[in-house]
């Protein structure tokens, strides 16, 4: 879904800042994305990408700045209120209900939005879509990392959010699983806006339309992946100045 030219951005931040004591993890970030867009965030470890996500979902209360979703100011909203507005997130370390089965994990998520019968129908659909049906009765705490990632994604998808934040969705996945996830993300993007944080450049190249580069908590540059690959500044922060020299 490429509707990047849409007039009202689905998400905007103005001067978003997150300080931990003297450390500025997110530094005055002005970010905007259009409805239907698939935006990738890249940057070295510690660049502030995950902290940026946590500020957007109010897991961290931002030190300064505003967040707007579909034009509405959600800066002071609680995490659950932001979720109810239509922002879903898959966290970097899979955040799932470890003691529950795969089926129960997704059912609890689906039941938040739907009645019992409809929730059961949706869970069956999600399990099939994410190829989790053979694991439905397994306790999530016993699953491999990649499988837990899919379970978490399943819980997010049940709510049919308008914007999904994916923090390293392919971490710990096999090559085949990464390919499947690539297809899945493209499919999700037909109906949903996405922001994806990833380190896997092949994966980024496969899905990205526009890429935002984070460096030391701030946005360094925004461009297409092809242009960024040729950008000396980006190569410097990823590979180090020694390489550039």
């Amino acid at each position: 879904m490429t509707d990047a030219g849409s007039a009202v951005p689905i998400l905007e931040t103005h001067g978003l800042t997150m300080r931990f004591g003297g450390v500025v993890a997110v530094d005055n970030v002005d970010f905007s994305m259009a409805e239907g867009e698939l935006r990738c965030l890249i940057g070295p470890n510690g660049a502030g990408k995950s902290t940026f996500f946590k500020c957007l979902t109010h897991q961290y209360k931002a030190s300064a700045g505003r967040v707007r979703f579909r034009g509405a100011d959600i800066t002071g909203s609680h995490t659950y209120q932001i979720a109810r507005r239509g922002i879903g997130i898959k966290t970097q370390v899979p955040s799932v209900f470890d003691g529950l089965s795969v089926h129960e994990n997704i059912w609890v998520a689906a039941r938040r939005h739907h009645g019992r019968r409809e929730a059961n129908r949706i869970v069956d659909g999600i399990l099939e879509r994410l190829r989790l049906d053979h694991l439905a009765r397994r306790v999530v705490g016993q699953l491999a990392h990649g499988e837990r990632q899919r379970v978490e994604l399943g819980t997010v998808l049940t709510g049919e959010p308008e914007l999904i934040l994916l923090d390293e969705p392919t971490a710990g996945m096999t090559h085949e699983e990464v390919n499947q996830t690539t297809d899945l993300i493209r499919e999700i993007n037909k109906t949903t806006s996405l922001i994806v944080v990833e380190h896997d450049m092949q994966f980024i190249k496969a899905i990205a339309e526009r890429v935002t580069v984070f460096h030391q908590g701030a946005i360094l540059i925004e461009d297409t992946m092809a242009n960024l690959e040729r950008n000396q500044q980006v190569r410097d922060i990823y590979l180090g100045k020694q390489h550039a020299a």
Binding site: T57, Q59, H78, T79, Y80, A83, R84, G88, I89, T91, S95, V96, F97, D98, G99, L100, S101, H103, E104, W107, V108, A109, R111, R112, H113, R116, N120, V123, D124, L127, D133, A136, R137, R138, V139, Q142, E152, T155, G159
Partner: protein
């Protein structure tokens, strides 16, 4: 694909039916098989089992470690004693003994959950509140400490409390048999109610919050409100237990708020098995029977024995009696495992 309801292992559903059947049989047969003294004792066990259920629910399912569940029990007991002392008829006091502790739990819970207290601080705050009540009630011996016509009586406690009567008739007091029936009926209702609640959307979300608060919130659940509701239900049940418990000997004193009693409730739950409903009841009845026996023998200190027991359980049976028995049964009887992988969801079956 199966639904949550069908995820339940059939044998555990039968287990629930068996537990209810045993309680129903006891409800009707109790007065015929126990002598009067034993019936009094069993009535107290039943009341305490409701308290154990409340703890099993909020801690085992809601993940809320309340070190002051005895406070709600005590509030229920005192509310009944004070109200019935003023009103002289037990219908309203019986209801107040549920409502007042529930309201107190809601108020306390509001500050704790909306203040985002973490688990450890929550345990400390609930214990501190209990001990404040203990010290306050001990200092109310003076004549000025009275609510209406009922004096609080300080550390001496309130005695000669009017027993529960048939609704609307203050002169038609319940006999010990009737109080046993009432207590047992309340226990059965509480048990079935919690079973239904735990299998409902509310119960599933409570367990999900226990497992991962952040994920529940990221899915759009208001964790604070949900925990507050769970805590309030637990408070109401503990208050009911207090009301029934006070009818055991028509007496209540500040010891219901003491540290010993607060710790005992935790021990019942740990020994019986966290995350189960029957487990805390088994732990409660077992420890109370032991307490009675030790009290009669006068050989050693009860809490010295309890300390030893809890150490043994923490080291050797950390999951508690019921979950350990279930694990053993599943190991030796493959049919109980549910499916071949043995990876059946645990939560829905408790």
């Amino acid at each position: 694909m199966t639904t949550l309801g069908i995820d339940l292992r059939r044998w555990e559903t039968w287990g629930t039916i068996l537990v209810v059947a045993v309680m129903v049989v006891l409800l009707f047969a109790g007065p015929h098989i126990f002598d009067l003294f034993t019936l009094f004792k069993v009535t107290l066990f039943v009341a305490m089992s409701i308290l154990a259920l409340s703890m099993g629910f909020i801690w085992g399912y809601g993940g809320i470690l309340c070190f002051g569940q005895s406070a709600f029990y005590g509030l229920g007991a005192y509310t009944y004693a004070i109200a019935v002392g003023n009103i002289g008829e037990s219908t309203a006091p019986f209801l107040l003994a549920i409502v007042v502790p529930a309201a107190f739990a809601a108020l306390l819970g509001y500050f704790m959950f909306y203040g985002r207290l973490s688990d450890v601080y929550l345990a400390v705050v609930t214990l501190a509140v209990t001990l404040i009540l203990y010290n306050f009630m001990r200092s109310t011996a003076g004549e000025e400490y009275a609510i209406g016509a009922q004096r609080l009586m300080g550390f001496n406690g309130i005695s000669s409390i009017q027993p529960i009567n048939w609704p609307g008739d203050g002169n038609a007091l319940l006999f010990p048999d009737d109080i046993f029936h009432l207590s047992m009926g309340c226990l059965i209702l509480c048990y079935i109610g919690l079973k239904v609640l735990n299998r409902s959307h509310f119960g599933r979300v409570a367990v999900a919050i226990r497992e991962n608060e952040l994920r529940a919130e990221l899915l759009g659940y208001d964790v604070r409100l949900h925990k507050l509701q769970t805590f309030t239900i637990g408070g109401a049940m503990a208050g009911l237990a207090g009301c029934l418990g006070v009818n055991f000997n028509s007496f209540v004193n500040p010891d219901v708020f003491a540290l010993n009693f607060a710790a005992e409730i935790i021990m019942w739950t740990l020994i019986g098995g966290l995350g189960t409903l029957v487990g805390p009841m088994i732990g409660c009845i077992g420890l109370l029977m032991l307490k009675f026996e030790i009290g009669q023998q006068q050989i050693t200190n009860t809490y010295l024995i309890f300390g030893g027991i809890i150490m043994v359980f923490v080291l050797a049976v950390p999951a508690g009696l019921l979950p350990t028995a279930r694990q053993l049964a599943e190991r030796f009887v493959p049919a109980l495992r549910g499916d071949e992988s043995g990876d059946v969801p645990r939560e829905a079956a408790r």
